[in-house]
């Protein structure tokens, strides 16, 4: 039997959700999102030159962190946060105090559904996160918790409660998320197919997680959403979200949490330069041939009952099993541990949120 979320208010979860946006240019795109985002708190992670001022459109409630802030807050642990790569967004996940995160790229705009109506991507992510997933058995009518759908004949009733949804992975119209080789061969391909479905990625199946339109339950999976060491000073780029997705999916499978993909769509407006992308991705294209079998064969011990424990265990396995591929993976394994240390420091367990441990100076002005 389908479960319909009880909240259908205009700004659901507005005090429980942070919108994390990494940016290096400007935030003009927020104007288009205003009706959908205005009531939510934003966490801006400013990449690149910290002396540059990023203008946030008026009326948004936000906190902004540049590289100096990251260094100040994390101290030596700041080494795990990438520089000159949108991977830096995961710093926003760490400092947030909310239960849910929605993250979006600054070249993503509001899309329209086939009827011409503007899509409230945030509301759809919330719906996805508030309704269960079905990772244990595939439902051929996709998400049974959506209105108008249900579990099909043959679906065991004992599995119909589903699992809590940890991640909601949205898609993109217009510029699709292709790798550099595909972009080079099909520079003009645009995604025009609106697939009206949300579905759970089955347990035991890995997927390529794109960070440009993503929601997740920070309390359920937050510590696994580390976007790795990318960009400046690193041999690889554009695999940050992939890495987080593979780690997070393995952990979700282990902890019986669900991952959904499909709606909502956003409109992806900028095609990045495929030659620049190729340079960044080059190693990743070869490395992923080893990385995927690694993740497909990982088993986490029963004793790993929390996300942090799973993640630390994963970091050990990364060093052990992927170390031979490139020394980068030793560094990455260490960074994964640093990340968890930093996460635990900023998010001490079971302490009411009255005692901030992070030594944050007064946050930048929060215009309203």
């Amino acid at each position: 039997m389908a479960v319909v979320p009880s909240t259908k208010v205009v700004a659901p979860l507005k005090d429980e959700l942070d919108i994390v946006i990494p940016t290096i240019r400007n935030l003009d795109f927020l104007e288009m999102w205003r009706p959908f985002f205005e009531q939510y708190h934003l966490i801006i992670v400013q990449d690149g030159d910290p002396t540059k001022t990023i203008r946030v459109p008026d009326g948004f409630d936000y906190e902004l962190y540049n590289r100096n802030d990251i260094n100040r807050i994390l101290g030596p642990k700041a080494s795990c946060i990438s520089f000159k790569d949108s991977a830096c967004r995961c710093f926003g996940f760490m400092v947030s105090k909310k239960k849910y995160i929605f993250t979006i790229d600054d070249d993503c705009f509001v899309a329209k559904d086939p009827s011409g109506k503007e899509i409230n991507a945030l509301a759809q992510h919330i719906q996805n996160l508030l309704t269960p997933s079905t990772p244990f058995f595939f439902n051929t009518l996709y998400d049974p918790y959506r209105e108008g759908a249900d579990f099909v004949r043959g679906y065991p009733f004992s599995m119909r409660e589903g699992a809590p949804t940890a991640i909601s992975h949205g898609l993109w119209l217009n510029i699709p998320d292709y790798d550099a080789p595909t972009q080079l061969v099909k520079p003009r391909e645009r995604n025009t197919r609106y697939v009206d479905a949300v579905l759970t990625i089955p347990k035991g199946t890995l997927f390529p997680m794109c960070g440009m339109n993503l929601g997740f339950d920070r309390e359920l999976i937050g510590p696994a959403m580390y976007f790795g060491l990318m960009g400046d000073g690193q041999p690889i780029g554009r695999y940050d979200d992939m890495w987080a997705g593979w780690c997070a999916k393995v952990i979700c499978d282990h902890l019986s949490l669900g991952v959904k993909t499909g709606l909502p769509y956003i409109w992806h407006s900028k095609a990045s330069n495929p030659f620049v992308n190729l340079k960044k991705e080059y190693k990743g294209i070869y490395w992923q041939e080893e990385i995927i079998p690694f993740f497909q064969s990982v088993t986490l011990p029963k004793e790993c009952t929390t996300v942090q424990k799973c993640y630390i265990e994963l970091s050990k396995l990364v060093k052990e099993k992927l170390g031979h591929v490139d020394p980068y993976f030793q560094k990455l394994g260490d960074a994964m541990v640093t990340w968890i240390d930093a996460w635990d420091e900023l998010n001490p367990p079971a302490v009411p949120a009255t005692e901030p441990v992070a030594k944050k100076d007064a946050p930048p002005p929060k215009a309203k």
Partner: protein, 471 residues
């Protein structure tokens, strides 16, 4: 000094631009026709999937011209669309057809099949003779059903199997190429004991699978009619199933843009290149608009619920992921997995409504285990059919609860069954599965012990009948 263009080449250039407005090319002299054809060869419209070769070639989604095939003109503005290709084929000119063959032009997309009955050896543009449409007749008057499906079915051979329990004579309209099998045919082929236990009710269609000689089989319940897509166009469910079966499946890694082989889509960033060739798709599971395939409790609870959501996607069901395969609308590659579609799980009070059966769910999970073991794929999604109103869920619920409860044991079993390396054919796989069913599920409920026996009997039957049928 540059040679000025000839009148002929100017005319051809002009014709290229206008080709989509021309309806008949057969008046053209052969040499002009060839020139025109080769000029149309465009790498933008057709995917070149070469049988052997792709050594060092870029991943699927890329086009390559076979150097030896590419003759006079290079890429031009015109695109070799399906319509124009048909125009060339319709001329019937030998040289054109042999050029098409030599260039190995392969339509990967849903083909609008050439109306010509010529046996063109274009792989991927399916030969009508490769397909059987198997219909289990649970209703005696098939006229409305077949009339609605006529535009789609009429080019194919149909196998109609009458439910042995159905008393009335079948009423079948003319204009189809079909064979009808009734109880007496089934009895003659397999003996009346088997026929009673294996082929009654919805399971009658398995007899059609047993005796089919074709590579692809498409099967649709006789209470379904063609659906319409979001643009109001009639959906050719057979063409879509065949397209699903003749394009690769991708069971080893999930593609977030669904089927990467369909037009306008591809593999996304992060998809390992070594997995981009995909594997053969052995089973295609379609969906239903209007009356979705819910079980009786669900439909009884939501009597007014109808499925109106058209989801424009086909996706591969990942390896080791089980799913409830509905028999209402399926297609499969009989040569690859034929014996694994089997009538085995028969409920004590099985009836003549889908709510009162689970035979297809069982069969589907057998097929999925076999596919996972043999490394072939299963797709789900398009095509949709329109399933008509029929029956009363509450009445069915009063009669039959058992199937719903049995799923609690069935699903965990199939999720955990593992086959040995020695099982290399679908028949081997079924025998091993039957042994596992007998051992692990047999003690739970007698219906499973009978299912195990039916599976073994089915494989024997399959071997006997196939031997008899081979030339």
């Amino acid at each position: 000094m540059r040679t000025p263009p000839s009148l002929v080449s100017l005319a051809i250039d002009s014709a290229l631009a206008q080709l989509s407005n021309i309806s008949d090319l057969s008046f053209l002299p052969d040499h002009i026709l060839i020139d025109l054809f080769l000029s149309q060869w465009s790498i933008l419209k057709f995917e070149y999937l070469s049988g052997e070769n792709s050594a060092g070639e870029a991943p699927c989604g890329i086009f390559k011209l076979p150097v030896e095939g590419f003759l006079k003109r290079t890429l031009r503005a015109g695109k070799l669309t399906e319509k124009i290709l048909k125009l060339f084929i319709a001329t019937g000119k030998e040289e054109v057809l042999s050029h098409i063959e030599a260039l190995n032009i392969q339509l990967v997309l849903t083909p609008v099949l050439p109306t010509s009955k010529k046996n063109l050896s274009m792989s991927q543009i399916i030969d009508d003779n490769d397909v059987d449409i198997v219909i289990g007749a649970l209703h005696s008057d098939l006229t409305p059903f077949l009339d609605e499906w006529r535009p789609v079915f009429s080019r194919f051979h149909l196998i109609i199997v009458k439910d042995p329990d159905l008393k009335d004579e079948l009423k079948i309209p003319g204009g189809f190429n079909l064979h009808v099998y009734t109880k007496s045919d089934i009895d003659k082929a397999v003996g009346s004991a088997s026929s009673a236990s294996l082929f009654s009710g919805y399971s009658c269609r398995y007899f059609g699978y047993l005796i089919s000689q074709k590579k692809y089989v498409v099967s649709i319940d006789d209470d379904c009619v063609p659906a319409r897509d979001n643009n109001g166009g009639l959906i050719d469910a057979v063409a879509q199933h065949i397209s699903n079966l003749t394009t690769p499946a991708t069971p080893f890694f999930f593609n977030t843009l669904y089927d990467p082989f369909c037009k306008g889509a591809d593999f996304v960033r992060g998809y390992p290149f070594s997995l981009r060739n995909g594997v053969t798709c052995a089973l295609s599971c379609g969906l239903w608009l209007n009356l979705a395939d819910y079980d009786a409790p669900t439909q009884a609870l939501k009597p007014g619920q109808r499925n109106s959501r058209y989801v424009d996607a086909v996706l591969t069901v990942p390896a080791r992921t089980m799913l409830p395969v509905s028999g209402i609308n399926i297609g499969f590659n009989r040569e690859v997995v034929g014996p694994a579609l089997l009538p085995a799980l028969r409920l004590a009070k099985e009836g003549k409504f889908r709510w009162e059966t689970v035979e297809d769910i069982w069969s589907g999970m057998c097929v999925k285990v076999v596919c996972d073991h043999l490394g072939v794929g299963v797709k789900s999604g398009l095509p949709y059919v329109w399933r008509k109103e029929r029956g009363d869920a509450i009445e069915s619920l009063k009669k039959e609860w058992e199937g719903v409860k049995l799923m609690e044991d069935v699903v965990p079993f199939f999720q955990s069954v593992r086959l040995s390396q020695a099982a290399v054919t679908p028949e081997d796989c079924v025998i091993e599965m039957a042994a596992a069913v007998k051992e692990r599920l047999g003690p739970v409920h007698p219906v499973f012990a009978r299912a195990a026996e039916a599976m073994v009997e089915w494989v024997k039957l399959w071997k006997v009948v196939r031997t008899r049928l081979s030339p």
